[in-house]
Assembly symmetry: D2
Homo-oligomer: 356 residues x 4
Amino acid sequence: MFVVMQAGAGEAEVNGVKGLILSEGLTPFENAGTDRTVIAVVGEIGKRREALRSRLEATAGVASVTAISKPYKLVSREFHPEDTVIKVLDSVVGDGSLAVMAGPCSVESRDQLFETVDFVSTHGATIIRGGAFKPRTSPYSFQGLGVEGLRYLAEARQRTGLPVITEVMEPSQVDIVAEYSDILQIGTRNMQNFSLLLACGRSHRPVMLKRGFGNTIEEWLMAAEYIASAGNSQIILCERGIRTFDTSTRNTLDVTAVPLMHHLTHLPVVVDPSHATGKRWLVKPLAIAGVAVGADGVMVEVHPRPDEALSDAEQQLDFPMFDSMMLALTAVHGNVKDLHGDLARSAANRTAGGRA
Amino acid sequence: MFVVMQAGAGEAEVNGVKGLILSEGLTPFENAGTDRTVIAVVGEIGKRREALRSRLEATAGVASVTAISKPYKLVSREFHPEDTVIKVLDSVVGDGSLAVMAGPCSVESRDQLFETVDFVSTHGATIIRGGAFKPRTSPYSFQGLGVEGLRYLAEARQRTGLPVITEVMEPSQVDIVAEYSDILQIGTRNMQNFSLLLACGRSHRPVMLKRGFGNTIEEWLMAAEYIASAGNSQIILCERGIRTFDTSTRNTLDVTAVPLMHHLTHLPVVVDPSHATGKRWLVKPLAIAGVAVGADGVMVEVHPRPDEALSDAEQQLDFPMFDSMMLALTAVHGNVKDLHGDLARSAANRTAGGRA
Amino acid sequence: MFVVMQAGAGEAEVNGVKGLILSEGLTPFENAGTDRTVIAVVGEIGKRREALRSRLEATAGVASVTAISKPYKLVSREFHPEDTVIKVLDSVVGDGSLAVMAGPCSVESRDQLFETVDFVSTHGATIIRGGAFKPRTSPYSFQGLGVEGLRYLAEARQRTGLPVITEVMEPSQVDIVAEYSDILQIGTRNMQNFSLLLACGRSHRPVMLKRGFGNTIEEWLMAAEYIASAGNSQIILCERGIRTFDTSTRNTLDVTAVPLMHHLTHLPVVVDPSHATGKRWLVKPLAIAGVAVGADGVMVEVHPRPDEALSDAEQQLDFPMFDSMMLALTAVHGNVKDLHGDLARSAANRTAGGRA
Amino acid sequence: MFVVMQAGAGEAEVNGVKGLILSEGLTPFENAGTDRTVIAVVGEIGKRREALRSRLEATAGVASVTAISKPYKLVSREFHPEDTVIKVLDSVVGDGSLAVMAGPCSVESRDQLFETVDFVSTHGATIIRGGAFKPRTSPYSFQGLGVEGLRYLAEARQRTGLPVITEVMEPSQVDIVAEYSDILQIGTRNMQNFSLLLACGRSHRPVMLKRGFGNTIEEWLMAAEYIASAGNSQIILCERGIRTFDTSTRNTLDVTAVPLMHHLTHLPVVVDPSHATGKRWLVKPLAIAGVAVGADGVMVEVHPRPDEALSDAEQQLDFPMFDSMMLALTAVHGNVKDLHGDLARSAANRTAGGRA
């Protein structure tokens, strides 16, 4: 249920509505939009629906009360028509600029990390990536440097001035990962690890939620809703390829998800062509496709000497390839930026705007 | 690397081999088979391979040293040709008998649970199932009774004398779930939650590992290998349907996985037709298919009044349907039992046996 | 639109209804059931619906006129509640007996075919299969013996007294294949070759329609509807595995399709474990699963010396394997037959019966 | 087997090699590249391989004889390193320009077709599309105007000066479709209709081969190989979306297929965002993605009044949407054109070039 406040409603009216919702054992979530404030009523409403609606409609400052048509609420465009913009240090995701998350698949050593970030930070990257806790298919593969890796990442942030993103694999790691890094990453295999989603939702750090390779668009939105429902609406979505019958590439990058998500949700969307394709030479064309279709950024793996990498050797870019990709992305981004005006996102905005 | 001991090798020789492996910083896993003992060498061997092989071959009591052809080792038939049989209280999984895990999707109340277990325990169930911690797609759906539900399950065990299986959703829950129940269940969305796999691997309780609905046969085996590598080889595999393009049922039950798994691994395999089909009336025929193809058991959801269920209402059996299914399964199981002699499992045994 | 006739309605009333339908440029299809006759109205009704319904309801002998809820009409249980039983020579498909279609993937020579059919016909096969026109992924692979192969098949029919099934690949082949064989097979890649479906629909031979490996249940029924709409309702459905992300077997046999189809349609359903698995040793367990879940029969590939086969060498059974499978299938079929009473099929009958 | 001729080899030497191949009952296919001529040896070589190779190597003018690593030969980059460029009337596909195939899903009437082509031909379309024979899932849906539709298409060509592409559904239609149109289209459901592939391969018209929605990259190439092996190498590939578990759009446009195909084959590749998404508002962003990733063109459905369309109403663009899309595509194409220099295609060229 959404409560749309009148245009002139003030804090007192908003608090009155929130108090009524809380007194019913439900949770109010407020979106103070430019035009009007909307309050989402979250929780198990059940048979109280009609009575509650009547009481809310009769409350001071309320313009209207509407039903929510989707199972996701806080992350929907209906609730929050404006794009969510995420600012971390001096980097921004979702404001129309191009976010570029780059760095090695795994932090392997201080030297390897520094060599990489020195290059990418001076060639267009806006956020540093690097794995400290690594989810690996085999228990016998390199599992990452753990906390030692986190420390190197924090040093890399100092060194470059760029924010750092790294993966968190279980609820008990959230605090320490949040201590050393700026953005928490939830990996594809954990997209429906609901305990982890809630733990990240209780963190004050932005969260990047990768799409599960076997998960639908709606499940992805519901996973984001878990995070938002726990209090954290600073969420970046990352399309990284889905599993299909075709195995000529590791996975199939679903670029359609970008405009579709921009239509359904206010959250920014980036694409990860490295994991999607699993092949180095396909990273650049797929990054271009992602940016062209309107993604807010890309995440790519870069390694000084990819063939020596301890993980994902096949798909990490070397420095010249990163450089070449950045030149192309910058050109394409500048070019498609003006095309977004009548793309899915603004169409969604118009639709959503029509609601208020 | 597998070290096959000589037929007459004793404890001293085995310990000699293990000591050598440990001294290299690697881990020995022993399978004392009826004919011979096999010791798997687990860890990152790298370039030491040839030197280590030579030293092992020269060690007292060693018959031969062979390479392992698969990425999974401890769960492979190659390492452990005999079927793993899991005994919990008086119930057994994997010995040729039919294990029947039955109970409600969610424990909703003491009364609902007891009413259900009283029926299923007197109509063929050998293990009680019931969800206390429930992984739900929506954060706004019923999330289970939690520890209260675990307590009711422990009471149900007392009441029926049957062991209890219930899901564990995160590493920090393993201890309490292990305290109240007999078998830990890892759900389909957590199949590659590696932290949870390792935590369950350190438990002394048997673990039932559901196949991820988007995961391959090999990924499933690697997930089991995670559990085994942490020290727990009491693992039951559960095929519960995979996600395909066809949405006329919730998922597609992959019955081929049963003989395939019996061929590749020594672990028992059960099927879950409730979650696979999502439709009550399809549970019985699919359970029959699973048993006919050689599954070691089935897991089904049963509710006194399915239409009132707080979760998975569409797929839970009522009591007469459970009774009808059990009559059919008992007949089919008795009938196909003798056919297993030349089915995949024994074929695998022969192949594996040929190795020693 | 279905027109249900009154219980006592005779030929005159039926013809009256048909005449009215024809006068509207639509086509009547009659199902003279044991209780009542139902006439389906097929064609583009459009805006005439209400007027036509009124006129039909007012016609002599009409009990009621009902809407059709599914896009497939003639093949639906709603139109035709009784199971369709197909008789070819002395063999029957769909009457509760077990149809066994066996023979080589390709007819390679008269000797190879005769050696095979001599064995399978004396060990339980009820229908002879063999490919004369072979759809091959590569233009450079053996494409079958063509008409020469058809002639050998006709000789094999003479020799064994069993009917013959073989594939037809294009509309212009229908006549000659129908001349030499008893059942026309439409292959998985041609399931939506609508020209071929219509051509087979105009033939007087029964048609076996394999499910497309990338096609849904509903598309499969619509393909059958194409055949039926052209006048041929003697259709056997064959589940042969669908394409999924898992490539450990060639395809994934969707055994759920068997009870689902028995619920939705009156047509018999057989399973093909040879093409589904692509592995010889998996054919027997999957054939058992298919029979156990209620299939009306199985289709398997058998070759005197599979390793020398010109096509599908990996999946053809040798003679001892066929013999062993038949012993198992006979036992399982005898055993599950009585279980079908409350399985999907009769549930469908009850539902459908409730309609009349 | 590929026979690479010496740089200076003339017609006599080439004919000598061809004659030797023909005398073995095999077929020579010649690619007279800018540097050297390559002759592919196609057919069942079997055990003659080594002897044949020796004889060819000893033939006048032969530089070397190499094995072919892929199952597809004539369509591979290995055989034909240069891009295939297809010219029809004044339109070109594959030369680096942007081909735009536009028109209604179905030709519904002369007026509807002319209204559409008048618009698209003056707003950037380079090829007219329109369905005369329509493959429809239901036998009761509009099946197209047939030959009448073909005649209107031929008139549209006269009217606009643009070439026409339309679908052919069965071998017996190839002649008449080739008579009235300029490019033969093979639909997604017929991608492995081998009889149709061969019939189109014997035509003198270029063929556009849509990818089967359930088919792999390799199967797609093998289907193209069928056409080429029958003598027609004027083939355009069209990626139109594959079937995945996600049903939020009709299919999933696999843009990765574009650079992958440019790497593996010399044939041009276009994308069809209309059928891939099934949603009008997603056509433009996906068309942009396709062009950005390097596609040689796009195919889109346009209708004067999409909501009144007799087929695919949901996905046809209206005129303003087509105009808006064309403005965006023109801008993006101009921008990405220069990026292709180090994209997959030229990488492939370098690799392939390295072979000679």
